[in-house]
Symmetry: C2
Subunit: 337 residues, 2 copies
């Protein structure tokens, strides 16, 4: 079996570290492995499959001989190095938002639009974490009834702001437990422990945040549904690493609760957790460090007007895994296969 | 000025204690004050306006000579004593859900349907906390455009489960901070710290919880809007005592964002906190121990179909105050006036 030389760009972050673990778990055929980061981290050691790997500074020459780049860096770093990697013949699966809406770049969730991988020209974009989690949950229902409209409220974990976000929430909880004042926040605009922050990303002129618009803009591209309408409210919650979403769907055609549950139970990447009588429903603690998206609370939308076909559901998924690293490594595996 | 003999039924709970504070703050003309609780608490001392008051056991005779009862007890206690109090000539403002949908009992939010107070026959019901907070926020917009439909996702605080819920969340946070395992939960079905629980109340046969149905059932009665359709998803979040709600509204008539903001800014009981450019929006930490409902993130519903008139907003309010005690004492003041 052929092996592939892999570079992880931004290897020291929460997503970069998780990508290494996913490469090992998914038995990706790794040849040479390069861990690329800023000059600050260069020379430090990380582990892959029990072996030491020295971190290199991300520079143009670092991409020589690389087959696949897993991009776990911010937009400005992605924009600096992804074109270089392409120039040198590598294919990048990029987790930044820099290329997601580029018509020349496929935006892929393997459970939803695997066929788009083949259309790449050296770059495949990994969607936004909340978008991946929501679309893995609703795609089996989209196939049944054709989703026209989504009204989504998110409950997004601290890990969406990276390791800094996780450490900040932990520190705030410890200080509250000790009866001490919370330090000025850095990763978030306000205290997150015992609080909710209804803003992720910057605001546009009509009052939506960049995170909120991703669900519609990326959703339309991934589902090949140019007319999909999505109203999203994104809220940061004091949870470590699983995002949750309350989703109300309007369909073209009727989808019964029973048919929805059947489709979800059979869908790849989905675990149906939906037994109210046993108090079984998705919770972020249960999806932590899991690859599957848990879906439950599936029920009729009782507010739908006559003739409207509506369902409501609740889903949770690990933001660092399926929301980022797992999805990227799945795409890389499709490239290798 | 006439004074009124007041009894607080369930005085030792989170809502009962807050009712005492609200009676003092709102300068309610209290004559004799009786604090009623279970036999376990009888004989203990609570303070009202700096004076000691001995807690009495709730028994039929305790309601002799009482003018106004503030009910802060569970349904079974309310059903046991509210009819007795009425028999003895008292008017009860009851925070349990026992009488809320009784056609003979007004269900009142003073900012929304003050006129209904006059229709009482000895009992006035205080609405569900999430319902009060949501309806104070949307009522000014209902007056403008006529709300047909609400899609609501809640983010509900631990205090909704009373003092036990608050202590349980605090204890869990302290144990997590100390690196210790969390004890088996009692107030909630699952661990709440660093988690979300998408169930409040029991489930009905179509999969909605009792808490979720209150928004529609109580909303229809309070707004005198029998055709109002509400789809609600209620979620417990690791926040102490303020509920938050993400609400998407569909109106009969167009309501512009500007008109909505103007109406909210002028509405009693509402504080408009809506300046995205200054990162100003409602957050549960900011509404803690406040009587006002904070409303913000007001924006067009970009998922509304042509001809549908939609807005989306976010609101927060203190669950123990306006969600319960403040609202009840406001009603009592209307009775006194």
């Amino acid at each position: 079996m052929r092996s592939y030389n892999v570079a992880v760009l931004g290897a020291t972050g929460a997503v970069g570290q998780q990508m290494l673990q996913c490469l090992a778990e998914q038995d990706f055929p790794v040849g040479n492995l390069k861990l690329l980061a800023s000059s600050r981290s260069a020379g430090k050691i990380m582990q892959f499959k029990g072996e030491d790997v020295v971190i290199e500074e991300a520079r143009d020459e670092a991409f020589d001989g690389v087959d696949i780049v897993l991009g776990a860096a911010e937009n400005n770093i992605a924009e600096r190095f992804v074109p270089v990697a392409r120039e040198k013949g590598a294919v990048t699966v990029d987790n930044s938002s820099a290329y997601r809406l580029d018509p020349d770049v496929p935006l892929v969730i393997p459970e939803v639009n695997p066929e788009d991988v083949a259309k790449h020209n050296g770059i495949i974009a990994n969607p936004n974490c909340a978008t991946i989690i929501g679309l893995v949950a609703v795609n089996p229902l989209h196939k049944l009834g054709g989703i026209k409209r989504m009204v989504v409220s998110t409950y997004q974990a601290a890990s969406g702001a990276g390791v800094g976000g996780l450490r900040e929430l932990e520190s705030q909880m410890a200080r509250i437990a000790a009866g001490e004042p919370v330090e000025d926040p850095k990763a978030f605009a306000y205290q997150l422990a015992c609080n909710l922050i209804p803003q992720i990303g910057g605001f546009d002129e009509v009052g939506y945040t960049s995170e909120e618009m991703k669900m519609q803009n990326e959703g339309r591209k991934i589902l090949h549904a140019a007319d999909l309408r999505v109203n999203c409210t994104c809220v940061r919650v004091p949870v470590m690493r699983s995002h949750s979403e309350s989703i109300t769907l309007e369909f073209e055609r009727e989808v019964s609760v029973e048919a929805a549950r059947e489709a979800l139970a059979a869908a790849p990447g989905v675990k149906l957790v939906d037994d109210p009588s046993a108090l079984a429903y998705p919770m972020p603690l249960d999806t932590t460090d899991q690859d599957d998206i848990f879906v439950g609370r599936v029920r009729e939308d009782i507010s739908a007007a006559p003739g409207q076909h509506g369902l409501t559901l609740w889903c949770c998924g690990d933001q660092i895994r399926k929301g980022a690293a797992t999805n990227a490594v799945q795409i890389a595996k499709m490239l290798a296969e």
